[in-house]
Symmetry: C2
Subunit: 323 residues, 2 copies
């Protein structure tokens, strides 16, 4: 029997957030709402230009696992941090949230990863990720017993920007399948899909049992104009896909079924960051507890609704009290 | 002529905040609402017990300077950070807020200071300060040109918990007075006053031109029961005192005058932390710009009102737009 509901591989990141104007985005050549990987020099320049900031643990897959734990599920995270203070912050926060995270801090001189997030007055976040030691994640980092012990393996598409991580993905999927576990992937970002479309398509067709993403990412994956075409394509490729459509809710598809799930009503949307991450939390919690696909989608909507009703990409209340 | 309005000596701290129950305070023997200095072992234990946290730059005198800069004044900070990530965060945030901070990160193996803050459901903050490398602040850290260049020297009472810092205070006051500058002190915390009453009284009587504090701290300083007695005592001791009384506003006293200043109305008080720090910002900005004592108090009230209307001890808007 599996000890763990969801095991995830992702970028271990601490978010560094400051409020800036739209002119700031232009001055620093930032694409509004996108995620970009940046190197050390660019990270230093951008941080120096940013105003006073707040630090809070993040990382897309890490956020999803925190949501799974908050719903009452068990979760384990695989990712790299360095032996420094931001690494300690990331480790403290994810463990304090109830997620298993055992990686020893890695040496090698690279610092822990961080995501410099510029928040504009329209509440949009533009993300600039400096992966640091996280960029060195590679197949030997995968603890086979951990991967084999999870009912579902969850992988973050953002990792695809690093060649070594692609190998780690394939290796992890192989381990999971060898132990009759399911493999899931989130597409993460339509720009990321753009950069690695062919690799993503191969991975989805060959290895992925459950695909997560939003409507834009799915259209980008299959290079089609309409959401209907994208859904048809994914039903051919993948046993199960759960696709979010913002305020329109989500659509869950298999070869046999198309299930539409309404979004949970939210009094006031304050910050949409983490909506997709937390939708995946609810869906995966339901899926690993034997619920119907419609119920999985409903739990996803509830978890997403909580996280968009406040600033920050991790839940502020115990999600198990909401379901 | 002075290049700088306010030069401050204080603890360089990054706040680490988590939400906990009252039972958490009891289980860890924490005195609600107090500030306590903790050592490495205790800091590690307490952090391990705390839930997921947020990091944000703090430090009482540093908050005051950020307020002075936000009002349009010039400010410089003297304090110690290590060459680590929390030190970089502290330095980035205070500089990004417009405060001059030139100290080279100090070696010696101690990390940068942090304040582990437990926020209970009554919105009260219980502070546990691990000073780290900040505990090594000593007279040689004082840059004479910086101290001599400020119209007012501002010192944080919290530093009195460290013997070497007491010497640094006396040395800084001597430099300031030798250059015909004014010396100000904030009492910081009534527990801190309790611990160092005699030293504080000597400092106030001998060196302090402007004393900041609240009604409780002032009563503790003079060991009297009534606020009236405390005011009478400070008028004997000190040329000028600006004492805050929470929602009752503040009282500014000299040998000749007693001026009552109303609190600025606030729609909803969300977090009173930083109220005293920001009152000092407004008062010192006014004082270094030649305003009347009543006007100085009014600016203090406006700055304090902004900071208690949101979570966090530094202003979220440019204070100069409010005055």
């Amino acid at each position: 029997m599996s000890r763990i509901d969801v095991v995830a591989i992702g970028n271990a990141l601490v978010d560094v957030l400051s409020n800036e104007s739209h002119e700031f985005l232009e001055a620093h050549h930032l694409v509004p709402g996108a995620m970009e990987l940046i190197d050390t020099t660019r990270a230093e320049q951008l941080y120096a230009a940013m105003g006073p900031a707040v630090e809070i643990s993040g990382g897309s897959a890490a956020n999803t696992l925190v949501g799974v734990a908050s719903l009452g599920g068990s979760a384990a995270f695989i990712g790299r941090v360095a032996d420094d203070e931001l690494g300690a912050v990331f480790g403290h926060d994810i463990r304090a949230a109830g997620v298993d995270f055992r990686a020893k801090p890695a040496g090698g001189g690279e610092p822990s990863g961080r995501c410099l997030i510029v928040v504009t007055p329209d509440a949009q976040r533009t993300m600039n990720t400096y992966l640091g030691v996280g960029s060195l994640l590679c197949p030997p980092d995968l603890d086979e017993a951990t991967v084999a012990g999870g009912k579902v393996l969850y992988m973050e598409g953002y990792l695809y920007d690093r060649p070594a991580a692609k190998e780690a993905f394939r290796a992890a999927a192989k381990i999971a399948h060898a132990h009759h576990r399911q493999v899931s992937l989130t597409l993460s970002d339509s720009f990321c899909v753009d950069r690695h479309r062919d690799d993503f398509r191969r991975l989805v067709a060959d290895e992925v049992d459950i695909l997560f993403g939003n409507d834009e990412e799915l259209k980008s994956l299959y290079e089609v104009e309409s959401f209907g075409e994208a859904l048809a394509a994914v039903r051919d490729d993948c046993a199960l896909a759960a696709i979010t459509c913002g305020p329109q809710g989500s659509v869950i598809v298999t070869a046999e079924e198309v299930i539409k799930v309404a979004a949970e009503p939210v009094e006031r949307v304050l910050d949409t960051t983490g909506a997709g991450d937390l939708f995946a939390s609810g869906f995966l919690y339901g899926h690993t507890h034997g619920l119907s696909l419609a119920e999985c989608g409903r739990l996803g909507s509830i978890a997403a609704a909580e996280v968009i009703s406040h600033v920050g990409a991790r839940p502020l209340v115990e999600l198990r009290t909401l379901i």
